[in-house]
């Protein structure tokens, strides 16, 4: 009961804080807005080519950036220290913040449903893939937050990681060598599902996703045990 209360308190706090942070809202809706702009200026064929990449970047990059910057800001401003000293467990905090980022990322992803005319089946695939992409990226965001001491140090780590994970699938469409490399990351399969509107990744694809998840979770646990969440 206490844990639920704690998670709820953190979630409500994070929603209020995010809604008061205009920069957060701009970044959350940057890709859907860009998609709308592109829809107005490119042909339908070009739009169909560009859109999966926009959707992938939105799904995998935004949660990484936000999860890591929220936690590192809390570390820097010592608000996290105060929460931990008030009986909030690190996992309760992560779930509360993670749920908020997940919800906002999902909302921004769902904006694409208004822009792109999906069938019901395609919509279902899109939502499932988005949930997979957002969840994996949230874990990466939490890992990067543990690695960084403050907001200044989180940027240099988050930018290359989120760009690599978000942009690799797009480049893989242009080069087979890049594609071979990109196939080891979950973001490739997220983009694939946005292109093909199916979840047919084959056994290898699902295995790779499973390994990705296992690696991310175990990296998170190991780093958390070594450094802790509030490693001031």
């Amino acid at each position: 009961m206490n844990a639920i209360n704690h998670i709820k308190a953190i979630f409500i706090k994070q929603i209020k804080d995010s809604l008061k942070n205009k920069l957060v809202l701009v970044v959350f809706f940057m890709f859907p807005i860009l998609a709308l702009v592109f829809k107005g200026i490119v042909s339908d064929t070009e739009f169909d080519l560009i859109m999966p990449s926009f959707m992938t970047m939105n799904t995998v990059m935004i949660p990484i950036i936000f999860m890591s910057s929220i936690i590192s800001e809390e570390k820097e401003k010592k608000t996290l220290r105060m929460l931990i000293m008030s009986n909030i467990k690190a996992w309760e905090y992560l779930v509360g913040v993670g749920l908020c980022v997940f919800l906002l990322a999902l909302i921004s992803t769902l904006v694409f449903l208004v822009i792109v005319p999906f069938t019901i089946k395609e919509t279902a695939v899109f939502i499932v893939s988005s949930i997979i992409g957002i969840t994996f990226s949230l874990i990466i965001g939490a890992i990067l937050a543990i690695l960084s001491k403050n907001q200044m140090s989180v940027g240099p780590i988050t930018a290359p990681v989120s760009m690599a994970i978000g942009l690799l699938p797009m480049f893989s469409a242009m080069n087979s060598k890049i594609e071979t490399f990109a196939k080891i990351f979950y973001s490739y399969y997220v983009r694939q599902s946005f292109v093909t509107h199916t979840l047919n990744f084959g056994i290898n694809g699902w295995l790779i996703l499973l390994v990705n998840f296992a690696l991310l979770i175990s990296s998170f646990i190991i780093l958390y045990r070594i450094k802790g969440l509030n490693n001031e």
């Binding site: 953190i10 409500i12 706090k13 209020k16 804080d17 401003k77 010592k78 608000t79 105060m82 009986n87």
Partner: protein, 283 residues
């Protein structure tokens, strides 16, 4: 009843020893002050007591629970105003307190929060973002957050540092109200007047060592050297003498048709004691 017991605590950061064999205790319901200059180790000690830092050696017990084995129940007994206020800048005063009211599962949140905001004089600013508050207002809000769950012990790390006299008085008044309600207060300060006025007992900390401990009066009396007596007259003259020569000085004043304005025993204040013990002033 001793609520905090600290025995032989040492703390080192790499090769630098910050705390050296600290032993002290804090009684229930008292305001205990840790007085010392910047860099003496006050914040380190408070951070160790509340469990934010580990100690290199020694033993600390708070409400019967050993350091390193603190549980959720013990943390519920703590209220804290630390060196960094840890407030959410974008949230309002009300929302900052609402977060903690939810964490502590406080019933009638709205009433409790408004009541506390009223107590700390921030009810008019309840909807203001914390980023728009002055330093004094932020400190009062931190204070409100520290007491929202009626803790048994409050740790105040330099709560009035850099504040204007009016806000300082408000904070002192809140501390007195808490003391009346039976709350124990552990205060660190480098302000000698604050320590002398507010603390029931205090310890003087310098360079990681406790150089003196007791009630402010007892400490000052202990360091009174030659029982000096200061006499001031209406004409503005000052005489400093001791008990052996007091009669002669008084006779001189009467013979010169002067009237005595005040006679004062000239015991040292805490700052004098600190300088005498350490050779440095409290900064």
């Amino acid at each position: 009843m001793q609520i905090i017991q600290i025995n032989d605590v040492c703390k080192s950061f790499k090769n630098h020893q910050v705390l050296k064999n600290i032993t002290l205790s804090v009684n229930e319901g008292e305001i205990f002050g840790l007085l010392g200059p910047s860099g003496a180790g006050k914040t380190t000690l408070i951070n160790i007591i509340i469990g934010l830092l580990s100690m290199t050696s020694g033993k600390i017990t708070v409400l019967g629970k050993e350091h390193g084995k603190y549980d959720d129940e013990l943390y519920l007994s703590f209220g804290m105003v630390l060196d960094n206020d840890g407030l959410y800048d974008r949230l309002s005063c009300y929302d900052n307190l609402d977060l903690y009211a939810r964490i502590y599962s406080i019933n009638n949140r709205r009433e409790v929060i408004n009541d506390i905001l009223e107590q700390v004089g921030l009810i008019e600013s309840s909807k203001k973002s914390v980023s728009n508050l002055s330093k004094g207002m932020r400190q009062r809000l931190s204070f409100a957050r520290a007491i929202i769950h009626s803790p048994k012990i409050i740790f105040l790390d330099e709560p009035t540092s850099g504040l204007d006299p009016a806000t300082t008085l408000q904070i002192h008044s809140m501390m007195n109200s808490l003391k009346k309600s039976g709350t124990t207060i552990f205060l660190t300060t480098h302000n000698m007047n604050e320590a002398q006025r507010m603390c029931d007992r205090l310890a003087l900390l310098n360079d990681g060592i406790i150089v003196e401990e007791g009630t402010p009066e007892a400490i000052c009396l202990r360091h009174r050297k030659n029982c000096e007596i200061k006499i001031e007259t209406f004409s503005g003259e000052q005489y400093i003498t001791d008990v052996h020569h007091l009669t002669n000085v008084l006779q001189d004043i009467v013979q010169s048709n002067n009237e005595i304005l005040r006679i004062h025993s000239n015991e040292p204040n805490l700052e004098d004691v600190f300088i005498e013990l350490t050779g440095i002033a409290l900064i």
